[in-house]
Amino acid sequence: MVQVTVPSILADQAEGRRCFDIEAATVGEALRALPVADLLFNERGEWSRYLNVFVDGTDARERGGPACPLAGVHEILVIAMLSGG
């Protein structure tokens, strides 16, 4: 079981929930199980390029992206990329 935490703007789209306990084998599988999955992936199944996903503190892109295995992982953080003014 992994805990997935999403930003507040996504919580507004999920009846106010920010945290989800999900049973999944990979990061992609976990994110696709979220009620806001349609907002994280485009219609080709790709992550938004402005989306950062951290797996126990490490950028998921460094661990295979959506294919990153979740064995031993406790936490996934979904964070919108920082933007400047």
């Binding site: 703007i9 349609d38 907002l39 485009n42 219609e43 080709r44 402005y50 989306l51 919108a80 933007s83």
Partner: protein, 357 residues
Amino acid sequence: MAIGVLALVGTRKGLFLLRGDDDRRCWRADGPLLDGWAVYHATVDARDGTIYSAANHIVYGPTVQRSDDGGKTWQRSKKISLPEWSGLTVNAAWHIEPGLPQQPGTLFLGADPGALFRSDDSGETWEPNRGILEHSTRDRWFPGAGGLCCDSIQLDPRDPRRIYVCIASAGTLRTDDGGQTWLPVNKNVAADYLGSPYGEVGQCVHKLLLHPARPERLWQQNHCGVYRSDDCGDSWERLDGNGLPSGFGFPIMIDPKDPDTAFVIPERSPEYHYSPDAQFAVYRTRDSGQTWEEMSDGLPRPAWAAVLREASASDADSLYFGTQSGSFFALADGDTWVEAARHLPPILSVEVTQWSR
């Protein structure tokens, strides 16, 4: 029960509901709803009171959101998507047009990249129109600064098979068979940025409106001028040489009671996008575009205002528009503008309806 005006003001950071008294002098703002989403367009479906919003986010993408309780709660449509064979993906949801009264549950959605969607289940799901998607001229369409946006969808109230859509920069397309086939209707409409400025397609329509009382009459604010058609778009007459300080602008408004009356908000040329000489004004024609008169009473001057293509609306009694600097104006007594709200986020869209209080 008194009736007031409800303005749905879409901004870069959410949707605001502005309620005005019937004299349009006193207003109350609620919001932002859909906090953090760029609301390119929001409208009330007069058939059942549902609010629909074309809400976009740079990270989370395009969505259509609907509320059947006045904006308290929202439901997201199923993912809006284009078929893989098209090689296209949806970049933004631009405009939602409820169907005709005799088409319950039907809505249309205009989207970037030059796509029209139809829903027959009150916005739960959306199907792309293949006639637009596979149009034989698509390879000659190209995006403007706002993308390849489909922002004008007009339905002929006398004939549900006839629909107009505008795509920037493809021009105006008309179907007479319910969306199976689409005919470019851009005769005499300039595209000065092209080597051949009067081509079949490639025009940059900023906003097109059909007059409900005379559906063969169309008004168009284009990148290259203001136009009127009296034959369902088969031909167009250019009107901005008759007293407008600039032919460039984005929104256009009409008077639903008078097909000869229209309103535009000129801006200095495509490179600048603000009021010519800082003389912020709406211009009105009452003679089908033969002459134009300035309506600036109550508007700030000097002002370098910019009003986007979806950021204006009209009803039987008044006109309404919002600026990119977050001011919302309504026409009150006679020809006087009232700044009904200021310091909102940049305003992207305006629609109005009535509300009971």
